[in-house]
């Protein structure tokens, strides 16, 4: 565990010493503050549009941080040859991968926390109350979604040599799952027997990332999700993270790193 946390610490240090997070955070703040200063519906009490825009920006920014941070981890280590002195130490490849995963996931969590604190402050300044439980559920589920994305991008970084190609492929697949994944069962109904079975298999095999999207709940101040479903969603995410990480370990186990 010591080795895993040491590697994770380096990943977190890298994130806060790079400019990516700060740029995205400042851009989000600026856009939201500009939107907050405009009274679009001529009613200062309408805050939903502002919350929606802010949450959309947070989703895009955190996905960008998760994918770009994770996609470069192993390829950059290989390219810069930092992997060699690292693996020449008593550190197993599984520990290295778990450390990278934990570091990226925690780094995303820290970024998410900053974004949600800003979001909470912005919403409270207009609504004058905090839906703490809503924000908690939305934040935790969002963080677990990022865990799936990080594990997936880490697996991709072992298959694709260049960080840019891995990042692009991850964005396309994650975007595809987010926008199309939930409708695959309906698409299957209009296909022939073979096509339907294939699409349905895909529908059940792909992670349902829409489970983790509580933006509407936060925007409209709806009641919280029942805690049983909330916990089941966390378990479901943990399962997918484990599957992607096991696959990554199997790929990395016998890979020559010279």
């Amino acid at each position: 565990m010591n080795n895993i946390s040491a590697v994770a610490g380096i990943v977190i240090k890298e994130l806060y010493r790079r400019k990516d997070f700060y740029v995205l955070f400042i851009v989000t703040i600026l856009i939201c503050l500009v939107m907050a200063s405009i009274n679009i519906y001529n009613d200062a009490h309408i805050v939903r549009y502002l919350k929606e825009i802010c949450l959309d920006l947070i989703w895009v920014s955190t996905l960008v941080i998760a994918v770009t941070t994770t996609a470069r981890q192993i390829p950059a280590e290989r390219e810069n040859r930092t992997l060699l002195p690292l693996l020449a130490k008593p550190l197993t490849r599984v520990q290295l991968l778990l450390g990278k995963f934990l570091g990226c996931w925690l780094a995303c969590g820290l970024a998410l926390l900053c974004f949600y604190i800003f979001f909470g402050a912005l919403a409270a300044s207009r609504e004058h109350h905090w839906s703490v439980l809503n924000y908690f559920q939305a934040g935790i589920l969002h963080w677990f979604l990022l865990g799936i994305v990080v594990a997936f991008a880490l697996l991709g970084s072992l298959i694709f040599a260049a960080p840019s190609s891995n990042a692009t492929i991850c964005f396309v697949i994650i975007g595809g799952i987010l926008f199309v994944g939930r409708n695959l069962d309906r698409v299957a109904l209009g296909l022939g027997a073979v096509g339907r079975n294939l699409v349905l298999a895909l529908y059940f095999a792909l992670p349902h990332l829409e489970f983790y999207d509580l933006r509407d709940l936060v925007v409209h101040n709806w009641p919280t999700v029942p805690w049983t479903y909330f916990c089941l969603a966390l378990l479901y995410a943990a399962l997918y993270m484990a599957v992607f990480l096991i696959a990554a370990c199997l790929v990395f186990r016998r890979k020559a790193v010279n």
Binding site: P85, L91, N258
Partner: protein
Amino acid sequence: MTTIVRMEKLRVEYRSREMRQATKVALCGLDLEVGAGEVFGFLGPNGAGKTTTMNVLLGFVPPTSGTASLFGIDVRQPIARQRIGYLPELTYYYKFLTAEELLRFYARIFGLSRADANRRIPELLKLVELEPAAKRPIKSYSKGMQQRVGLAQALINNPDLLVLDEPTSGLDPLGRMKVREIIQRLKNEGKTVFFSSHELGEVESVCDRVAIIHQGELKAVGRVAEITGRHTNLEQAFLAIVGYPLQPAP
């Protein structure tokens, strides 16, 4: 004498990525032993298989056949690397870290306590003369300074075996002298050093024994005087062993 490094019938083949290309044999039945306290020079022309041998010893590349062990432990076991220090040929380290942070990170990987790390890190920074730059990010270091950071990280666990892959490559004469001094110092402390180099004069001056490898095969192994034999120096002997036609002296 205890054997620290042992390779038996070591063979490494690389499958070509291009279709219809034959498999490339990087190492062909290498048998080699390095004893405790020896400074062992591993020589060979470019592409001879020196780095591949080191990559197998460090567990980066699995051998196609044969065995390799460090301190009697199979190199595939991570614990075999607990007592070794390694300096790669081209050293790059995390550029966003300072030298002190980098050493602290590696100390943690070796399981050094905070107190041991606090004592060891300043010692090493002093040894490689990086004390004034210890809190600067590595990205601001010159090539020579980066090589010295590499040397410091290789010594962080006070290793019993030091594996150096062309440690003086790209260094200025002062840097080379410093590396030679460190190797000499480790030798005096009874440590084992296994290193590859193209600087044959340097090898001659610091090594107890040398091995010459060519096209993946071991061509000669023995004490420097034995290898030099009837030749005037190690360079002449090396050229003769790898089959380079020697020109008569004018």
